[in-house]
Point group: C2
Chain length 209, copies 2
DNA sequence: TCATCCAGTAAACAGCTGTTCGCCGAGTTG
DNA sequence: CAACTCGGCGAACAGCTGTTTACTGGATGA
């Protein structure tokens, strides 16, 4: 849809983008439920009333940011799941991918971390729904792997949720590290690898009785 | 200190408690950075100016809530660490303890979940510091266990952080479940046990090379 | 070309916010 | 009993908030 959007629609989308970007920028030091409509429009250089041409309210803008933030993560997860090397290689590569993703999308990750349990219900629910989809996707991928033979579907899903949770936690750890503190990043990388490897070991011995 | 506190000081503490309680109550549906000073004093029935007799600002009140929220968790963690049964018993008991704790302190857990990555720096730092202490405590307890022989201190600490993180995640899951949905609680219990057991398996085989 | 659409505007609205001030009066102290 | 301390009060401050209203003027489509 909207192959060739008129100049009219194009400018509207541009303003919308500016609003989303300004919101994300302002959310670096506060949470969504304290972010003001006027604050955002002022940052963009638009009249307050103009906000309503794009969003019903701040929660609405928040939900849009969720889709944007977790949409890009989706691609990353698919890339990780496509791996077929041995465990340690997959783990190392995954952690590296997460670090790169955070480097390029730090404000988005901060937003997700902050609003996952934040004060705006609609946003919480949007994040929970997306993360649930991630878990389903990971579970499906895990199910096809030979290591998962003999596993009950519930156990596979439990493992998928554990992986998703660890990935998000690792991403948040990278996000909280100072902008170019390579030593801190290295420490986080090491710990994340060990955690994932420990889980991998548990996974190997899950059916040992 | 303060064995026998005068009637004057006693009433002051009572007002302080009322402010903290009102704050916690109001934080059920919003985050700290959007909680207003007047909102809190109105809820208590105190003049706005009275707030400053107890707290410098809202961040200050938030830090007080952190100490209160994680202080009670401290006792719970000590109880869990004192266990000496076999793994499955310890796990089952731990998860049961967490569920009970959340039942009795739901608003506190909600507060920690919401503000751990929230918009108020001082509160984020207070929570991070307390959780770091938890991890140290768990690491020390793990170090004395026979299973940990041959482990490097870094690996022990990684495992401790993983445990603390899982406990908090489980607590948050219980907190988010509807108030008396026993089916949901049972599901969370099952999953938490499996996760912890999987980590336990990984732990047993950590030194297998 | 001309009527229609609609993103963005400026102004006004009532209502809220944090913070400061001087004051009161009960609890404490000597 | 007198002097003092100090938690809580009421009023006032400037400044901010979300939302509605009627409007303008450039892109759109017949």
């Amino acid at each position: 849809m909207s192959h060739t959007l008129g100049a009219r629609e194009a400018q509207k989308q541009q303003t919308r983008r500016a609003l989303l970007d300004a919101g994300l920028r302002l959310l670096e030091n506060q949470s969504l439920s304290s972010l003001g409509l006027r604050e955002v429009t002022r940052e963009v250089g638009v009249a307050p009333a103009g906000f309503y041409r794009h969003f019903r309210d701040m929660g609405d803008l928040g939900v849009a940011l969720v889709a944007e933030s977790l949409g890009s993560l989706h691609a990353m997860i698919r890339a990780i799941l496509a791996e077929q090397d041995d465990a340690e290689e997959v783990i190392a590569h995954s952690v590296r991918l997460i670090a790169l993703h955070v480097r390029d999308h730090r404000p988005h990750i901060r937003f997700i971390a902050r609003e996952r349990h934040g004060g705006v219900q609609a946003v919480r629910e949007a994040i929970a729904a997306e993360l649930s989809l991630f878990a389903d996707e990971v579970a499906e991928a895990l199910g096809t792997q030979p290591v998962a033979q003999g596993w009950s579907p519930e156990d596979v899903h439990m493992l998928a949720e554990l992986y998703v949770d660890r990935m998000l936690t690792t991403a948040i750890a990278f996000m909280e590290a100072p902008a170019d503190d390579t030593a801190a990043e290295e420490g986080i990388t090491q710990r994340a690898r060990k955690e994932l490897y420990l889980i991998h070991l548990g996974r190997r011995h899950w059916l040992d009785t």
